[in-house]
Amino acid sequence: MQIYLPIAEVSVNAFLLLGLGGLVGVLSGMFGVGGGFLMTPLLFFIGIPPAVAVATEANQIVASSFSGVLAHLRRKTVDLRMGTVLLIGGLFGAALGVVLFNYLKSMGQVDLLVKLCYVVFLGVVGGMMFFESLRAIRNTRRGAAPKRKKHGWVHGLPFKMRFRTSGLYISVIPPLLVGVSVGILAAIMGVGGGFIMVPAMIYLLGMPTKVVVGTSLFQIIFVTAFTTMLHATTNFTVDIALAVLLLVGGVIGAQIGTSIGTKMKAEQLRILLAMMVLVVCGKLALDLLLQPSELYSLGAAGGH
């Protein structure tokens, strides 16, 4: 069934979009990522103008993360307190990131820099996660008890706070810093930041993997809701018809993803996420290295 999208001014197949939303929703519920990294290129491929794709996707992510968070709340795997601290840091970071982005843009070739940074970053994070979880899986097979790093320099910092759901009693400074740096990265790279947030929470803050997914989704809701409003009021690029088609699939997918996620072991979840990060990294790297079939591309004049 073809549907004409009022803002994108493109006619698309409704069932294709429902399926796409569902697929991305499953990933979102499982891993606590928004899924924009996957949705953006797919929407481009269907022929949705880039500006509309990015704005509309933010709206769809609000829906699937909300659906996912509710599922996680029932299982008590959302650390609301930690989520709020990260969110406050994230908002500061995003504001800083926008300033930094404009500064880089005035120097030229910002696109290239961003892409290269992103590839390197995803490669490093994905690789480290992959080997760590591989080691963890081997250790549990051998029967060795998982070693937990406790009492590092992090625990000497002031302003301690109890995060009951995560089972942590740490200073608020590290979570705030993680929030700020993810916010900066998200603003510069134009992604929601779930990809960077999830590993940071696991490895830097030492939160349990199960809690990380729900908490990440919790803060993604606010970030993407803010992005949606920003795009709707400044660029007029949110296509509500497209969003509805995507989010119907997305909210159902998020529920399914959450129940798959809770049935899996933490190491398995981490290794899958690591593999996904590496695949995305590889795809971006190939885009840069291989000769594209069409060297030319069209855009609205005056656009970025």
Binding site: I3, Y4, P6, S67, A225, M229, A243, V251, A300, A301
Partner: protein, 254 residues
């Protein structure tokens, strides 16, 4: 037969001149609804003349063009081993949709000068005057070619030679298919009568392409009340998220 009859009826009502076009359209409005899936427009008409038919053969050229907008074309190049966007050209105006239908090969039915004057062929319909002066080091021609190539692949630019049927040098008709990805606006429709490559008569009309119903309402709202529109999008998102969660909970219990 119906076209012929309709054309003859219009013929009878039109004012007198040497050799001119009397035109009919299967519809002069295209309504874009939520399930819009492309549309076909029949363009038909008759040649009305007082003098006897001249010896030379008559040809008909029909163009339909969507609203023109500036377009930016970018080119990727290999630098330091990776492919990045290097050069770009801003073209002054390119139609969002453009179709040319003729009775024969375009270079036979239309001379170069007439093409230049009336901007009929696809490359001529794109204005790139400013681009050449703005980017003197870049081969603008390659960029316009790329634009045409990409648009043609999307079926947004159509060159349909010999697609116009001309009966007894008087009645002509053709069908133009509008793709599903249509932009709103006034679609200029032009009909040229040519003899030996020279334009002897022309006629212009407009096909109105418009979003209607829900499409219209959403589009207007997104422009005029962006805040409300954004909040509505968020409300739908939250409601859907909650709905799915509640539905799954009921399913698990039941």
């Amino acid at each position: 037969m119906l076209w012929r009859l309709a054309a003859l009826l219009i013929l009878a009502a039109a004012p007198l001149r040497a050799e001119e076009v009397v035109l009919g359209l299967s519809s002069d409005k295209v309504a874009i609804t939520a399930t819009f899936d492309g549309s076909e427009i029949l363009i038909f008409g008759a040649v009305k003349r007082e003098a006897p038919i001249p010896e030379t053969t008559l040809d008909v050229v029909i163009t339909v063009s969507g609203p023109s907008l500036p377009v930016q074309v970018r080119r990727k190049d290999r630098q330091f081993g990776i492919w990045i966007n290097t050069d770009m050209v801003d073209l002054d105006a390119a139609p969002s949709f453009y179709a040319v239908a003729t009775t024969g090969p375009l270079d036979k039915v239309l001379s170069n000068t007439e093409d230049l004057r009336h901007r009929i062929s696809i490359p001529r319909a794109i204005r790139s005057v400013g681009a050449a002066s703005m980017a003197p080091n870049v081969d603008v021609g390659n960029f316009t070619d790329a634009l045409i190539r990409i648009k043609r692949d999307q079926n947004a630019y159509q060159m349909r030679e010999s697609a116009v049927v001309l009966d007894e040098q008087t009645l002509f008709r053709t069908a133009i298919s509008l793709p599903a990805n249509l932009t709103e606006g006034a679609y200029q429709t032009r009909i040229f009568l040519t003899r030996e490559g020279r334009v002897v008569s022309q006629y212009q009309t407009v096909i109105d392409v418009r979003k209607v119903g829900l499409e219209r309402w959403l589009f207007t709202m997104s422009r005029e009340q962006p805040m409300l529109y954004g909040l509505m999008s968020l409300a739908i998102a939250i409601a859907a998220g909650w709905g799915a969660s509640a539905a799954f909970q009921i399913m698990r219990r039941g």
